[in-house]
Symmetry: C2
Subunit: 413 residues, 2 copies
């Protein structure tokens, strides 16, 4: 668990500005980990809008069910995240534990339980002893301050090797608004849902329904385009909170996602999501290579996505990349098994810009030594051209290394 | 490539009887491997019926396309298998190479090219130099004898650590008939197709259409219920040859798969397929544990299959088993991501007969030490009860070890 920081970690961490209306605090509650923070409390001002997208798992965790239910109110006052225990598949105890955590948090913050949002990454199936929150959340609510997002990102880590934060500042009307985000990832990450855990905070005054629409659209090419191992967590949660505090210095109140004044905001919002999603791929368990897979010339974008994901989730492609082997034959295999329209004799494949296959066969100009050299890079771009249509998509993943097996063979025991 | 024999290899190898009408020969053609046999020629008597099922890959290999086309004739005189080069994704060269191999084989055996069947497991994308077969196949046709099936199974190996053969003898009418089979497997194995490579030989007089129906039905719960890594090869081929020689000593000629006289034969035929399929799982690349996953109480058998495959292909489940960790939370995850009907609160899960979860939570009687001990066994049975209906299915897989990553990171280079 104390693995070194991923070699793919971003070289710099951005300075995270404060967001008016958001206060943060972290603590060591000893839920699972020792000698590190494992609880985050974010307290939001009254009137904060909330939106969320969640795992599509048929067996979601108790906190996911809680959040889904509370999202209908559209308002949030607090977010409680504890790392190390997913409180998933814990039966009635799990639901009781979630309700008790919300009750404790609501009392600490002074709000309704329906304004409390919860997330718990970590081991599935271990009952979460929510009584440990008693006292802790009260102290955190008092200590909460406008600000240390990096400390907050550290408190939500499980097998992550580095904290993941991103920020953007953009004009909304004539006012400056800020978007901050944090994420945790590492393993059990695949789309078909929202994401692992990620929380976005902004002072922009955006109504819940509009925020929900932005979030739903934003994840499609960001968090949903990232896969580590094709495994989908029961706890994946992405929540966005908009305090609206920027209205005080002139930001217009936004009621609809289609509002043209949102254009720059949407771009910045999606960049924050994309940045965090890429960091998740960069911290894939045991990852040594960041892999970007672009599929073009597919019949449709959806078809391109399916083929890209088939490549991204192929153990044989991922182990070849770990071995710095431009094994394009396995890419062909993964294209073939996706079940989407593909014509072997029109396929072209390149690794880091070097075309290795075209028209259904090895590229005659393909120089093994040149490609081998290119495969040593920490970032590998695989491009597949199908030559059938205009469908194009891009997903991010990482390689499959012995360390992934070690991390996941030893995780619980 | 010279890995030790899988610890899961069968303890004994059956004596393989001869099959009247089938002669075998192997040779070292130096296609890829040195100092080992890499070409198999099987010569069948005139009138031999053939049936086949193949990969569902959208990018099949040239030999698969060849076999599919020739299957329409229903008759076979020879099978040529070369290991080490898949002749897949080799463009026009690949098709020409396949045609040339068939031409050389037809001349050697003295038959029509349309009675030649071909298979080539190995690296994708490397042109196969069929001229290497010139001479070799002629010598093999002369040397072919009624059989060393174990030698034949050895000649078709790639990353396999042991040859895979199975046999059964059964009454058809009042005559004794024999079914012999061989397979190669190891990696790039997932269903949604026929199988890796497997060849079945029998002296039973069964017409092509009936044999095809038997084969199609037989793979469903055997080869199609095995997965190593969820990756589907472009070359997967399962061919069955029925020489009909047993008619000479009284076996009835069978024209329809529904013929009631076939009952015992079908059972034995399916046992041979199941035996070979299990051996493939036992020789999964890097495998240290054979894993049987049974899902019951699903809405339908198809739903149970989908959930079982989701568990079998989950890297997190497979690495946990490699780590001898009864991490049933990951089984819940895999059930949830399958997208099939499942009710978290009705789920029960057991490992090797020990129930660890029931009714949506940890089994109160679950003894970690007892389960940990059970997980040390080389064979792990995971049973999931959904409690929704009568759908039941079973699939076989293996664990995901560091050796899998090593084998597949170094395979081509």
């Amino acid at each position: 668990m104390s693995s070194a920081v991923s070699p793919l970690a971003p070289k710099t961490v951005p300075d995270m500005p404060v967001i008016a209306g958001v206060r943060l605090a972290t603590a060591e509650a000893g839920i699972r980990y020792k000698n590190r923070t494992d609880v985050l409390l974010a307290v939001m001002d009254k009137g904060t809008a909330v939106a969320g997208v969640f795992t599509k798992s048929k067996c979601p965790s108790a906190p996911v069910e809680w959040c889904r239910a509370k999202l209908k109110g559209g308002k949030a006052r607090a977010l409680v995240v504890n790392s190390g225990n997913a409180n998933a598949f814990t039966g009635k105890t799990g639901r009781a534990s979630t309700a008790l955590t919300a009750k404790i948090a609501a009392k600490a913050v002074g709000c309704s339980e329906s304004e409390i949002f919860l997330a718990s990454p970590g081991v599935i199936g271990e009952p979460l002893d929510a009584t440990k929150f008693d006292g802790v959340l009260g102290r955190l609510a008092e200590a909460a301050e406008p600000g240390d997002y990096l400390a907050a990102a550290k408190a939500i880590m499980t097998t992550d090797t580095f904290p993941k934060v991103a920020t953007a500042t953009v004009k909304l009307g004539k006012a400056k608004v800020t978007i901050n985000g944090m994420a945790k990832g590492a393993g059990m990450i695949a789309p078909d849902m929202a994401t692992m855990l990620s929380f976005i905070f902004t002072d922009a005054p955006i109504a819940p329904a509009a925020l929900q629409a932005l979030l739903k659209s934003g994840v499609e090419d960001t968090f949903n385009a990232v896969t580590i191992d094709g495994d989908t967590s029961t706890s994946d949660t992405l929540l966005a909170f908009a305090t609206g505090a920027a209205a005080e210095h002139g930001a217009p109140k936004i009621g609809r996602a289609s509002d043209p004044r949102l254009k720059a905001f949407v771009k910045a919002f999606n960049q924050v999501l994309a940045n965090l999603a890429e960091q998740v791929a960069r911290d894939g368990e045991g990852a040594r290579k960041l892999v970007e897979i672009t599929v073009e010339g597919a019949k449709t974008k959806a078809s391109a996505r399916k083929i890209a994901m088939s490549i991204a989730n192929s153990p044989l492609v991922k182990t070849a990349i770990a071995g710095e082997d431009a094994n394009w034959g396995r890419v062909v295999m993964a294209v073939g098994k996706a079940g989407e329209p593909a014509d072997r004799d029109k396929l072209s494949i390149s690794f880091n810009g070097i075309r290795v296959a075209r028209s259904g066969a090895r590229d005659p100009d393909y120089d093994e030594a040149q490609v081998s050299e290119a495969m040593k890079a920490p970032e590998i771009a695989i491009k597949v051209s199908l030559g059938l249509g205009k469908g194009r998509d891009r997903v991010m993943t990482c390689d499959l290394t012995k360390e992934y097996v070690a991390i996941n063979g030893d995780y619980r025991s």
